[in-house]
Amino acid sequence: MTSRSCAHEPEIVAAVLGRRWPEACDASLRAHAEACEVCREVVEVAALLKEDYDEAREAIAQRDVPLPSAGQIWWRAAVHARAEAAQAATRPLVWGYGVAAASSVALLIAGVSVLWPSLLPAFGVMTTLVDWVSPVAASATDAVVATLKARLPIVITVAAFLIATPVVLYLALRED
């Protein structure tokens, strides 16, 4: 079975990466590498990758767009962190708006429900007034009043949706 590693591997890698391989290395290490299959393979792979690494580092200097400076990275990180912090700070506020909107709708429904019996005579007065001003419009008014009297929960739900929808849409679609 082929050996998976060799005790000389770190030494050989250090020599290749330090450009000491093979001339500036100990003769015994060179002799070992020639005889050891693992070390031969390590030399081959490390030499190739080191060469590739050096070429890539040289290529940085020849790029049209240099790497960003430390100052630029620091500055962008600072601004980004602040923006994130601000966004995190407004998150409870958004929840607050939502709770406030829901409470308002609930209060509106409760208020209308409580006041509904006292509002019924007002519909009668309104119908009489419309009938007196314009007999033609009276039939339409009668129909509206009848609907309001008969379908109170539906009317309140529709009203609540009309109020809540723009608020919800605003919260959902606004830019962060």
Binding site: R4, S5, P10, V13, A14, V16, L17, V38, E41, V42, E44, V45, A46, L48, L49, K50, E51, D52, Y53, E55, A56, R57, I60, R63, V65, L67, P68, A70, G71, I73, W74, W75, R76, A77, A78, V79, H80, A81, R82, A83, A85, E175, D176
Partner: protein, 192 residues
């Protein structure tokens, strides 16, 4: 980017806040960046096969490092942590749809080097290496690069890749064998 248009006062506040909340001050960061940015960029370029993507990931890696809650026992620990972030960013990128990550596969499509001599052989070897590396698994690629281009110890590689040091020897051996197997033998046109 409209959110990044800040007043002078906000700029100062952002910088003050950074000094207070980041795990190192600006001077320390500058020194650390000068020492690590090029090797990390090369690592990202070789892992993704795309230098423009490496630019973006480099910035993101340092940003995440600055925002990390971790405490670092030494410069080496911090450097290893940075490589770990960079490695995770590369892996995250690979999980995205394939259309986003053409460049690495481009290396696979390059022609095999024929028998070349002189200065051409270096370029051919580079293409051959790029092609062979592109065929490796991402973790193997990271492992080989850290071990043989950066000279990281087994412990450091294990820390960066989140592996057990005890299993690294075997994994590295396997990766090295696979890379050697994918490389064109010197002077030959066919891969083994």
């Amino acid at each position: 980017m409209s959110g990044l248009v800040l007043s002078e006062l906000e700029r100062l506040a952002a910088l003050e806040e950074a000094e207070r909340t980041f795990p190192m001050n600006e001077e320390e960061f500058r020194a650390f960046y000068e020492l690590t940015s090029r090797p990390v960029w090369v690592y990202l370029t070789r892992m993704t096969g795309d230098s423009r993507l490496a630019d973006d990931l480099l910035q993101e890696a340092y940003y995440r490092l600055l925002r990390a809650k971790a405490t670092f026992e030494s410069e080496e620990h911090r450097r290893n942590y940075l490589y770990r972030i960079a490695t995770n960013l590369v892996h995250d990128h690979r999980r995205r749809p394939r259309a986003d990550r053409e460049p690495l596969e481009d290396a696979e499509r390059q022609p095999a080097p024929d028998s070349l001599t002189g200065s051409e052989s270096r370029a051919a070897r580079r293409i051959d290496l790029a092609r062979a590396m592109a065929r490796m698994k991402p973790r193997e690629r990271s492992m080989l690069w850290l071990a043989y281009a950066h000279g990281c110890s087994h412990e450091e590689i294990a820390e960066v890749l989140g592996l057990k040091t005890s299993s690294l020897k075997a994994l590295l051996h396997r990766a090295r064998r696979r890379l050697a197997g994918f490389m064109t033998p010197a002077g030959g046109g066919e891969t083994r």
